[in-house]
Protein backbone atom coordinates (compact mmCIF):
# COMPACT_ATOMS: atom_id res chain seq x y z
CA UNK A 1 0.00 0.00 0.00
CA UNK A 2 1.12 3.44 -0.82
CA UNK A 3 1.77 5.77 2.08
CA UNK A 4 1.76 8.88 -0.04
CA UNK A 5 -0.06 11.73 1.63
CA UNK A 6 -1.83 14.60 -0.01
CA UNK A 7 -1.08 17.81 1.77
CA UNK A 8 -3.38 20.79 1.37
CA UNK A 9 -1.93 23.54 -0.72
CA UNK A 10 -0.70 26.49 1.31
CA UNK A 11 -2.57 29.72 0.61
CA UNK A 12 -0.89 32.43 -1.41
CA UNK A 13 1.52 34.51 0.70
CA UNK A 14 4.90 36.00 1.10
CA UNK A 15 7.60 33.42 1.56
CA UNK A 16 11.26 33.73 2.51
CA UNK A 17 13.94 31.87 4.43
CA UNK A 18 12.44 31.01 7.81
CA UNK A 19 9.13 32.83 7.43
CA UNK A 20 5.82 32.71 5.63
CA UNK A 21 3.29 35.51 5.77
CA UNK A 22 -0.35 35.34 4.66
CA UNK A 23 -3.82 36.42 5.71
CA UNK A 24 -5.10 34.92 8.94
CA UNK A 25 -8.47 34.51 7.16
CA UNK A 26 -6.88 32.10 4.73
CA UNK A 27 -5.06 30.07 7.37
CA UNK A 28 -8.16 29.72 9.48
CA UNK A 29 -10.26 28.97 6.41
CA UNK A 30 -7.83 26.23 5.42
CA UNK A 31 -7.95 24.67 8.87
CA UNK A 32 -11.72 24.91 9.17
CA UNK A 33 -12.49 23.55 5.72
CA UNK A 34 -10.45 20.42 6.37
CA UNK A 35 -11.88 19.72 9.80
CA UNK A 36 -15.64 20.19 9.44
CA UNK A 37 -17.68 18.49 12.11
CA UNK A 38 -21.02 17.61 10.55
CA UNK A 39 -24.25 17.14 12.46
CA UNK A 40 -26.46 14.73 10.52
CA UNK A 41 -30.16 15.54 10.82
CA UNK A 42 -31.45 12.54 8.91
CA UNK A 43 -35.16 11.76 8.80
CA UNK A 44 -35.65 9.36 5.88
CA UNK A 45 -34.16 7.76 2.76
CA UNK A 46 -31.68 10.59 2.13
CA UNK A 47 -30.37 9.77 5.59
CA UNK A 48 -29.63 6.22 4.41
CA UNK A 49 -27.66 7.62 1.49
CA UNK A 50 -25.82 9.84 3.92
CA UNK A 51 -24.94 6.79 6.04
CA UNK A 52 -23.40 5.22 2.94
CA UNK A 53 -21.49 8.47 2.41
CA UNK A 54 -20.09 8.23 5.92
CA UNK A 55 -19.28 4.53 5.54
CA UNK A 56 -16.05 3.00 4.32
CA UNK A 57 -16.95 2.80 0.59
CA UNK A 58 -17.37 6.52 0.08
CA UNK A 59 -15.53 7.55 3.23
CA UNK A 60 -16.46 11.10 4.05
CA UNK A 61 -13.55 11.08 6.51
CA UNK A 62 -11.20 11.70 3.57
CA UNK A 63 -12.46 15.27 3.55
CA UNK A 64 -11.65 15.93 7.18
CA UNK A 65 -15.16 15.13 8.41
CA UNK A 66 -14.11 12.09 10.38
CA UNK A 67 -16.23 12.76 13.38
CA UNK A 68 -19.97 13.17 13.27
CA UNK A 69 -20.97 15.53 16.00
CA UNK A 70 -24.25 14.43 17.52
CA UNK A 71 -24.37 17.53 19.66
CA UNK A 72 -25.21 20.76 17.85
CA UNK A 73 -23.01 22.68 20.32
CA UNK A 74 -19.84 21.28 18.78
CA UNK A 75 -20.98 21.03 15.16
CA UNK A 76 -19.99 23.26 12.23
CA UNK A 77 -22.19 21.84 9.49
CA UNK A 78 -25.84 20.87 9.73
CA UNK A 79 -26.68 18.19 7.18
CA UNK A 80 -30.45 18.00 6.77
CA UNK A 81 -31.29 14.82 4.89
CA UNK A 82 -34.92 13.90 4.45
CA UNK A 83 -38.51 15.08 4.64
CA UNK A 84 -39.11 17.67 7.32
CA UNK A 85 -42.71 17.65 8.53
CA UNK A 86 -44.17 20.96 9.68
CA UNK A 87 -44.18 19.60 13.20
CA UNK A 88 -40.43 18.97 12.90
CA UNK A 89 -39.77 22.54 11.70
CA UNK A 90 -39.38 24.15 15.16
CA UNK A 91 -37.16 21.25 16.26
CA UNK A 92 -34.86 21.75 13.28
CA UNK A 93 -34.78 25.46 13.94
CA UNK A 94 -33.84 24.89 17.57
CA UNK A 95 -31.02 22.55 16.56
CA UNK A 96 -29.75 25.27 14.23
CA UNK A 97 -29.96 27.90 16.97
CA UNK A 98 -27.97 25.68 19.32
CA UNK A 99 -25.05 25.54 16.89
CA UNK A 100 -22.26 28.02 17.50
CA UNK A 101 -21.06 30.42 14.80
CA UNK A 102 -19.63 29.90 12.28
CA UNK A 103 -22.20 27.38 11.06
CA UNK A 104 -23.18 26.09 7.67
CA UNK A 105 -26.22 24.20 6.44
CA UNK A 106 -26.50 21.70 3.63
CA UNK A 107 -29.91 20.56 2.42
CA UNK A 108 -29.71 17.03 1.02
CA UNK A 109 -32.39 15.85 -1.39
CA UNK A 110 -35.59 17.12 -2.94
CA UNK A 111 -37.67 16.93 0.26
CA UNK A 112 -35.36 18.99 2.44
CA UNK A 113 -34.84 21.50 -0.38
CA UNK A 114 -38.41 21.98 -1.63
CA UNK A 115 -40.74 19.48 -0.01
CA UNK A 116 -40.17 17.14 -2.96
CA UNK A 117 -43.08 14.88 -3.84
CA UNK A 118 -44.77 15.75 -0.55
CA UNK A 119 -46.73 18.77 -1.68
CA UNK A 120 -49.15 18.36 1.16
CA UNK A 121 -50.51 20.06 4.27
CA UNK A 122 -48.22 18.32 6.73
CA UNK A 123 -44.81 18.81 5.11
CA UNK A 124 -42.54 21.85 5.28
CA UNK A 125 -41.99 23.01 1.69
CA UNK A 126 -38.22 23.33 1.99
CA UNK A 127 -36.12 23.88 5.10
CA UNK A 128 -35.17 27.36 3.86
CA UNK A 129 -38.60 28.37 5.17
CA UNK A 130 -37.19 28.11 8.71
CA UNK A 131 -33.37 28.28 8.51
CA UNK A 132 -30.87 29.70 5.98
CA UNK A 133 -29.26 27.14 3.67
CA UNK A 134 -25.77 27.31 2.09
CA UNK A 135 -25.78 24.39 -0.33
CA UNK A 136 -28.66 22.42 -1.86
CA UNK A 137 -28.02 18.88 -3.09
CA UNK A 138 -30.64 17.76 -5.65
CA UNK A 139 -31.81 14.17 -6.06
CA UNK A 140 -34.42 11.80 -4.73
CA UNK A 141 -32.38 10.55 -2.98
CA UNK A 142 -28.99 11.88 -4.17
CA UNK A 143 -26.16 9.41 -4.66
CA UNK A 144 -23.32 9.54 -2.13
CA UNK A 145 -21.13 11.14 -4.82
CA UNK A 146 -23.58 14.02 -4.99
CA UNK A 147 -23.56 14.44 -1.21
CA UNK A 148 -19.77 14.48 -1.24
CA UNK A 149 -19.90 17.08 -4.01
CA UNK A 150 -22.17 19.19 -1.82
CA UNK A 151 -19.80 18.88 1.11
CA UNK A 152 -16.87 19.86 -1.12
CA UNK A 153 -18.80 22.96 -2.12
CA UNK A 154 -19.29 23.72 1.57
CA UNK A 155 -15.51 23.30 1.98
CA UNK A 156 -14.98 25.91 -0.73
CA UNK A 157 -17.35 28.28 1.07
CA UNK A 158 -15.57 27.69 4.37
CA UNK A 159 -12.14 28.16 2.84
CA UNK A 160 -12.99 31.48 1.22
CA UNK A 161 -15.13 32.99 3.93
CA UNK A 162 -13.71 36.19 5.42
CA UNK A 163 -13.53 36.08 9.20
CA UNK A 164 -15.75 39.16 9.54
CA UNK A 165 -18.47 37.93 7.19
CA UNK A 166 -20.77 37.10 10.06
CA UNK A 167 -20.58 40.67 11.33
CA UNK A 168 -21.59 42.17 8.00
CA UNK A 169 -24.87 43.99 7.48
CA UNK A 170 -25.78 41.54 4.75
CA UNK A 171 -25.42 38.53 7.03
CA UNK A 172 -27.31 40.24 9.84
CA UNK A 173 -30.13 41.07 7.44
CA UNK A 174 -30.29 37.42 6.36
CA UNK A 175 -30.57 36.29 9.98
CA UNK A 176 -33.15 38.99 10.65
CA UNK A 177 -35.20 37.57 7.80
CA UNK A 178 -35.44 34.30 9.73
CA UNK A 179 -36.01 36.06 13.03
CA UNK A 180 -32.68 34.82 14.38
CA UNK A 181 -30.60 37.23 16.47
Amino acid sequence: MSTELTISKAPAGLEGPGFFATNIDKVIGLARSNSIWPLPFATSCCGIEFMATMGSNYDLARFGSERMSFSPRQADLLIVAGTIAKKMGPVLRQVYLQMAEPRWVISVGACASTGGIFDTYSVLQGIDKVIPVDVYVPGCPPRPEQIIDGIMQIQELVKNEPLRRRNTQEYKALMQQYGIQ
Partner: protein, 168 residues
Protein backbone atom coordinates in the same frame (compact mmCIF):
# COMPACT_ATOMS: atom_id res chain seq x y z
CA UNK B 1 -74.10 -22.04 23.67
CA UNK B 2 -75.41 -20.83 20.32
CA UNK B 3 -72.97 -20.18 17.55
CA UNK B 4 -72.13 -16.48 17.26
CA UNK B 5 -73.00 -15.81 13.63
CA UNK B 6 -73.30 -12.31 12.26
CA UNK B 7 -77.05 -12.79 11.91
CA UNK B 8 -77.33 -13.89 15.53
CA UNK B 9 -75.36 -10.88 16.81
CA UNK B 10 -77.34 -8.48 14.60
CA UNK B 11 -80.59 -9.98 15.92
CA UNK B 12 -79.42 -9.69 19.49
CA UNK B 13 -78.52 -6.01 19.06
CA UNK B 14 -81.78 -5.27 17.26
CA UNK B 15 -83.68 -6.79 20.17
CA UNK B 16 -81.80 -4.54 22.54
CA UNK B 17 -81.91 -1.24 20.63
CA UNK B 18 -84.77 -1.63 18.16
CA UNK B 19 -85.16 1.10 15.55
CA UNK B 20 -82.00 2.92 16.63
CA UNK B 21 -80.08 0.31 14.63
CA UNK B 22 -80.56 1.79 11.17
CA UNK B 23 -79.11 -1.08 9.17
CA UNK B 24 -77.02 -4.22 9.46
CA UNK B 25 -75.02 -5.60 6.55
CA UNK B 26 -72.07 -7.92 5.96
CA UNK B 27 -69.57 -6.46 3.51
CA UNK B 28 -66.68 -8.94 3.20
CA UNK B 29 -68.37 -11.08 5.88
CA UNK B 30 -67.85 -8.41 8.53
CA UNK B 31 -70.94 -7.39 10.47
CA UNK B 32 -71.49 -3.68 9.90
CA UNK B 33 -74.05 -1.81 11.95
CA UNK B 34 -75.19 1.70 11.09
CA UNK B 35 -76.55 3.15 14.28
CA UNK B 36 -78.19 6.33 15.43
CA UNK B 37 -75.33 8.54 16.72
CA UNK B 38 -77.11 9.16 20.02
CA UNK B 39 -76.87 5.47 20.95
CA UNK B 40 -73.41 4.67 19.48
CA UNK B 41 -71.89 4.78 22.94
CA UNK B 42 -74.59 2.47 24.31
CA UNK B 43 -74.15 -0.03 21.48
CA UNK B 44 -70.41 -0.23 22.09
CA UNK B 45 -70.98 -0.49 25.81
CA UNK B 46 -73.43 -3.34 25.20
CA UNK B 47 -71.03 -5.19 22.88
CA UNK B 48 -68.23 -4.82 25.41
CA UNK B 49 -70.17 -5.99 28.45
CA UNK B 50 -72.32 -8.67 26.83
CA UNK B 51 -71.42 -12.05 28.33
CA UNK B 52 -71.61 -13.77 24.91
CA UNK B 53 -70.06 -11.36 22.44
CA UNK B 54 -67.32 -9.99 24.75
CA UNK B 55 -65.72 -7.28 22.61
CA UNK B 56 -62.54 -6.49 24.53
CA UNK B 57 -60.62 -4.61 21.94
CA UNK B 58 -61.24 -1.38 20.04
CA UNK B 59 -59.13 -1.75 16.89
CA UNK B 60 -59.78 1.64 15.41
CA UNK B 61 -61.81 4.81 15.49
CA UNK B 62 -61.79 6.87 12.35
CA UNK B 63 -63.76 9.44 10.43
CA UNK B 64 -65.08 9.84 6.92
CA UNK B 65 -66.76 12.65 5.07
CA UNK B 66 -69.57 12.44 2.52
CA UNK B 67 -70.39 16.07 1.58
CA UNK B 68 -73.14 14.95 -0.81
CA UNK B 69 -75.31 13.32 1.87
CA UNK B 70 -77.14 16.22 3.45
CA UNK B 71 -77.49 16.05 7.23
CA UNK B 72 -75.12 13.05 7.39
CA UNK B 73 -71.90 14.62 6.14
CA UNK B 74 -69.62 13.01 8.67
CA UNK B 75 -69.28 9.41 9.70
CA UNK B 76 -67.53 7.99 12.74
CA UNK B 77 -66.47 4.39 12.31
CA UNK B 78 -65.55 2.05 15.14
CA UNK B 79 -63.83 -1.26 14.53
CA UNK B 80 -64.34 -3.68 17.39
CA UNK B 81 -62.72 -7.03 17.97
CA UNK B 82 -63.77 -9.82 20.28
CA UNK B 83 -60.54 -11.63 21.06
CA UNK B 84 -62.43 -14.42 22.86
CA UNK B 85 -64.65 -15.28 19.90
CA UNK B 86 -62.44 -13.93 17.11
CA UNK B 87 -65.24 -11.76 15.76
CA UNK B 88 -64.87 -8.34 14.26
CA UNK B 89 -67.72 -5.83 14.23
CA UNK B 90 -67.90 -2.45 12.54
CA UNK B 91 -70.14 0.27 13.97
CA UNK B 92 -70.90 3.38 11.94
CA UNK B 93 -72.66 6.54 13.03
CA UNK B 94 -73.48 9.41 10.67
CA UNK B 95 -73.57 12.92 12.06
CA UNK B 96 -74.43 16.28 10.45
CA UNK B 97 -71.77 18.87 9.54
CA UNK B 98 -73.71 21.58 11.41
CA UNK B 99 -73.23 19.79 14.76
CA UNK B 100 -70.44 17.24 14.31
CA UNK B 101 -70.60 15.85 17.83
CA UNK B 102 -70.80 12.35 19.21
CA UNK B 103 -70.24 10.88 22.67
CA UNK B 104 -66.74 9.70 23.44
CA UNK B 105 -66.02 6.03 24.03
CA UNK B 106 -62.76 6.78 25.83
CA UNK B 107 -64.52 5.90 29.09
CA UNK B 108 -65.04 2.35 27.74
CA UNK B 109 -61.75 1.88 25.89
CA UNK B 110 -58.70 3.93 26.91
CA UNK B 111 -57.26 3.35 23.44
CA UNK B 112 -60.04 5.55 22.04
CA UNK B 113 -58.39 8.57 23.63
CA UNK B 114 -55.72 9.06 20.96
CA UNK B 115 -57.84 7.68 18.13
CA UNK B 116 -60.59 10.20 18.84
CA UNK B 117 -58.03 12.97 19.05
CA UNK B 118 -56.75 11.94 15.63
CA UNK B 119 -60.28 11.91 14.20
CA UNK B 120 -60.83 15.36 15.66
CA UNK B 121 -57.49 16.54 14.27
CA UNK B 122 -58.29 15.55 10.69
CA UNK B 123 -62.09 15.97 10.48
CA UNK B 124 -63.03 18.30 13.32
CA UNK B 125 -65.47 15.77 14.78
CA UNK B 126 -66.11 16.70 18.42
CA UNK B 127 -66.20 13.88 20.94
CA UNK B 128 -68.28 14.96 23.90
CA UNK B 129 -66.81 14.00 27.25
CA UNK B 130 -63.31 13.40 25.88
CA UNK B 131 -60.76 14.30 28.61
CA UNK B 132 -58.28 16.08 26.32
CA UNK B 133 -59.64 16.80 22.87
CA UNK B 134 -56.88 18.66 21.01
CA UNK B 135 -54.62 18.08 18.04
CA UNK B 136 -52.37 15.05 18.11
CA UNK B 137 -50.73 14.61 14.68
CA UNK B 138 -50.68 18.06 13.08
CA UNK B 139 -49.01 21.22 14.29
CA UNK B 140 -50.93 22.97 17.07
CA UNK B 141 -51.11 26.19 15.04
CA UNK B 142 -53.05 24.54 12.21
CA UNK B 143 -56.37 26.36 11.82
CA UNK B 144 -58.30 23.90 9.67
CA UNK B 145 -59.08 20.19 9.44
CA UNK B 146 -56.94 18.96 6.56
CA UNK B 147 -58.84 15.84 5.47
CA UNK B 148 -62.11 17.69 5.01
CA UNK B 149 -62.92 17.84 1.33
CA UNK B 150 -63.39 21.61 1.22
CA UNK B 151 -59.64 22.10 1.74
CA UNK B 152 -57.01 21.44 -0.92
CA UNK B 153 -54.56 18.63 -0.22
CA UNK B 154 -51.63 20.60 -1.62
CA UNK B 155 -49.68 23.02 0.50
CA UNK B 156 -50.35 26.70 -0.23
CA UNK B 157 -46.80 27.79 0.56
CA UNK B 158 -45.21 25.81 -2.26
CA UNK B 159 -43.20 28.16 -4.48
CA UNK B 160 -41.25 25.98 -6.91
CA UNK B 161 -44.19 24.57 -8.86
CA UNK B 162 -45.07 26.36 -12.05
CA UNK B 163 -48.70 25.97 -13.00
CA UNK B 164 -47.99 25.57 -16.71
CA UNK B 165 -46.11 22.33 -16.07
CA UNK B 166 -49.12 20.89 -14.28
CA UNK B 167 -51.78 21.88 -16.80
CA UNK B 168 -53.32 24.56 -14.61
Amino acid sequence: MTELTNAYIAEKIRNQFGDAILSASEPFDMLTLVVNPSIAHNVINFLKNDSEIQVQFLTDVCGAQFPEIEGQEFCVIYHLHSLTNNIRIRVKAFIPASTPTIATVSDLFSSANWQERETYDFYGILFEGHPNLNRIMNVDEMDYFPLRKEYPLEDGTRTDKEDKYFGR
